[in-house]
């Protein structure tokens, strides 16, 4: 017994080049679609991870552009502006606040970094309060420094790899020519912290001549407490700005949404083109087999049988194209990641294009849905072919 499915798929081999080109068209649109959807969820996930991994929900910074400040913070740069450390105790008194930690960010030019030098990020932190914010930090070697004014350093995973340092080794801060003893090396976190060198707050303040000055206060809010009233109160503090990381996330997502709409439009156009291609292929195939389809009706096929046969051909094309496109997207996800990263003003760490099982199923469902719609007209036309017309064409032919 031969099934309708066998008849349908074998027919697609009749014009191999046309079938392959149609599948390629569907595959390309499927690739664009799955990559876009993967970017949609990957970017948000990566951004959320970056922000959550900061360990605090609010930051207080000296007045300036909050987005610049937040971006610099995320990128591991410096806040450029400073505030007095006494602000810390004022903030800590607020009832909503669970923990606070002072941070002084500094950047020095390292001529040995990369091919033409680069900026090395140093974070001056308090060894008592900072680790409580970064509870997910795990040490590959060693641990935190104990003294607030020791010349000791904890290196992020990538910073240690780059400098080829182990615990007990010394590192030199360029420009200042000051040496630190490495007391701890962190495990990979997948965040900007991997490239950072943490040193005691007082030490960094002394080196950069910023006594009792800090760039940032990280605030952890008590569990279940609404941050809005606290933000209102903190706004009253002079010469500081409040950066809510939830707001930062929202703002970045809004900025990125324009790009998303554009890419979505391109994907939509690609899908429409593929759809037209499918309709054209199947319709051409139906007209080429006009007599054959008519004859199928003389051997017992009902209009519904012909409809299903042609519809099945459309589905096979879409399923094949969709699958190839998804495989392509999975293989080239890293390349897509690099391409997107090169055009975005800010890209969080971690994979920007995340393609999971659910996304694969959604894309396949979309492509199959499009296939079903595309196949309707050709299948309907084929179902209406009358055997007599086919025979007459034979006679006239």
């Amino acid at each position: 017994m031969i099934t309708k499915f066998q008849v349908a798929y074998k027919n697609l081999f009749r014009k191999k080049i046309r079938t392959i080109l149609t599948i390629v068209g569907i595959a390309l649109s499927s690739w664009v679609l799955v990559s876009l959807l993967g970017f949609n969820q990957g970017y948000e996930r990566a951004l959320s991870k970056d922000i959550d991994n900061m360990g605090f929900q609010l930051m207080i910074m000296a007045k300036g552009c909050p987005y610049e400040a937040a971006t610099m913070m995320l990128k591991g740069g410096t806040g450029l502006r400073y505030m007095d450390e006494s602000m810390l105790s004022k903030v800590a008194q607020e009832p909503e606040v669970d923990k606070v930690t002072p941070i002084l960010m500094a950047a020095v030019f390292d001529p040995n970094k990369g091919e033409s030098g680069g900026v090395a990020g140093y974070f001056g932190v308090d060894p008592k309060t900072f680790p409580e914010m970064k509870t997910y930090f795990r040490f590959r070697q060693g641990g935190w420094f104990k003294d607030l004014d020791a010349y000791e350093a904890v290196m992020g995973y990538e910073a240690a790899e780059l400098e080829q340092r182990e615990v007990g080794d010394m590192i030199l801060m360029p420009e200042k020519n000051i040496q630190f003893k490495v007391v701890g090396i962190l495990d990979r976190t997948g965040t900007q912290d991997d490239g950072t060198i943490f040193v005691p707050l007082r030490t960094l303040q002394k080196i950069f001549d910023k006594n009792h000055q800090i760039t940032t206060i990280g605030i952890k809010i008590k569990k279940g407490v609404d941050s809005a009233p606290l933000e209102e109160k903190l706004y009253q503090l002079p010469d500081v700005q409040i950066v809510s990381l939830a707001q930062v996330k929202e703002t970045i997502m809004k900025l990125i949404s324009t790009a998303k709409v554009m890419v979505l439009s391109i994907a939509l156009i690609a899908i429409l083109i593929a759809m037209v291609g499918v309709i054209n292929t199947i319709l051409t195939s139906v007209w080429e087999r006009f007599q054959e389809i008519g004859i199928l009706k003389t051997i017992g096929a009902m209009p519904g049988d012909i409809f299903r046969l042609i519809w099945m051909e459309t589905l096979i094309l879409c399923l094949a194209g969709g699958t190839v496109g998804i495989i392509l997207a999975l293989i080239l996800a890293r390349l897509t990641d690099i391409l997107i990263r090169s055009v975005l003003p800010y890209a969080p760490t971690g994979g920007l294009v995340v393609i999971d099982g659910k996304l694969v199923l959604v894309t396949l469902a979309v492509i199959l849905g499009i296939g079903l719609i595309s196949g309707l007209y050709p299948a309907w036309k084929a179902g209406r072919i009358r055997p007599l017309e086919a025979i007459r064409r034979e006679v006239s032919g």
């Binding site: 017994m1 031969i2 099934t3 309708k4 066998q6 008849v7 074998k10 027919n11 081999f13 009749r14 007599q291 054959e292 004859i295 199928l296 009706k297 003389t298 051997i299 017992g300 096929a301 009902m302 209009p303 049988d305 009358r386 055997p387 007599l388 025979i391 034979e394 006679v395």
Partner: protein, 236 residues
């Protein structure tokens, strides 16, 4: 009327086509009856209306007027024309068709082509019959070949097997030898004769070749849309 069971009876079947204001009667008041197990040939010059008549007898088209019975069952003449769905239901119950151009599916093997009707309608679960038919028709050694790999005569035998797989009551063959040389044509007619004799199959064959037509038990001639039966040939 003879004492045999009538399988098909037409009374004043007419098919009129309109070309502008002109009316052309391609089939004009044709009456005939065909018995079960008959082998009928219909001959006539081009444009005489033989194919149109076979289309009406084979329920491929509705007549403009007239009556058609298949056995006791009235088909045409009940007033309104039958829909394509109703015609298909009758066709797959009663008829097997073969055509001049074979119309085998080029991507399916010989065996798959023969089994194809069962995909749409398996009248009596005859899926094992495809191989048996190929054997009867002497082409079982070609069952795994594609149509493009076999000769014209073999292709028509495959088409006959395809038409036979659902055990039709009547086999309609419209110019079945039109694309074959004399030798192959004779072989196909011999095959039809054999099926008629051995399986008791009723065969209606349209041809313009009088020599081939002479192989039938009864021969009708169509001329200007009208039919007349020629004298019966000896058939053993």
């Amino acid at each position: 009327m003879n004492g045999n069971q009538t399988i098909m009876e037409a009374d004043a079947l007419t098919k009129i086509y309109r070309r502008g204001s002109e009316e052309i009667a391609a089939v004009n008041g044709v009456s005939l009856h065909i018995d079960k197990g008959d082998f009928v040939s219909i001959i006539g010059p081009s444009g005489s209306g033989k194919t149109t008549l076979v289309n009406l007898l084979g329920c491929l088209d509705n007549p403009s007027s007239g009556i058609l019975h298949l056995g006791e069952r009235p088909i045409f003449g009940k007033g309104k024309p039958l829909s394509e769905r109703e015609l298909t239901k009758i066709r797959r119950e009663v008829f097997g068709y073969i055509f001049q151009n074979f119309y085998l599916i080029p991507t399916l093997t010989v065996l798959e082509n023969v089994m194809l009707p069962l995909t749409f309608y398996d009248k009596r679960g005859r899926s094992d019959d495809a191989s048996r038919l190929l054997k009867i028709l002497g082409i079982d050694h070609r069952k795994d070949h594609l149509p493009g790999e076999i000769s014209g005569g073999e292709m028509q035998r495959v088409a006959i097997a395809r038409a036979m797989v659902n055990e039709p009551q009547i086999l309609l063959a419209d110019e079945p030898t039109g694309n074959l040389d004399t030798k192959r044509s004779m072989e196909i007619v011999e095959t039809l004769k054999d099926l008629n004799k051995r399986e008791g199959l009723t065969v209606i064959m349209v041809t313009h070749n009088q020599v081939l037509a002479a192989n039938a038990k009864r021969t009708f001639e169509m001329r200007d849309g009208q039919i007349c039966e020629l004298e019966r040939t000896a058939f053993t």
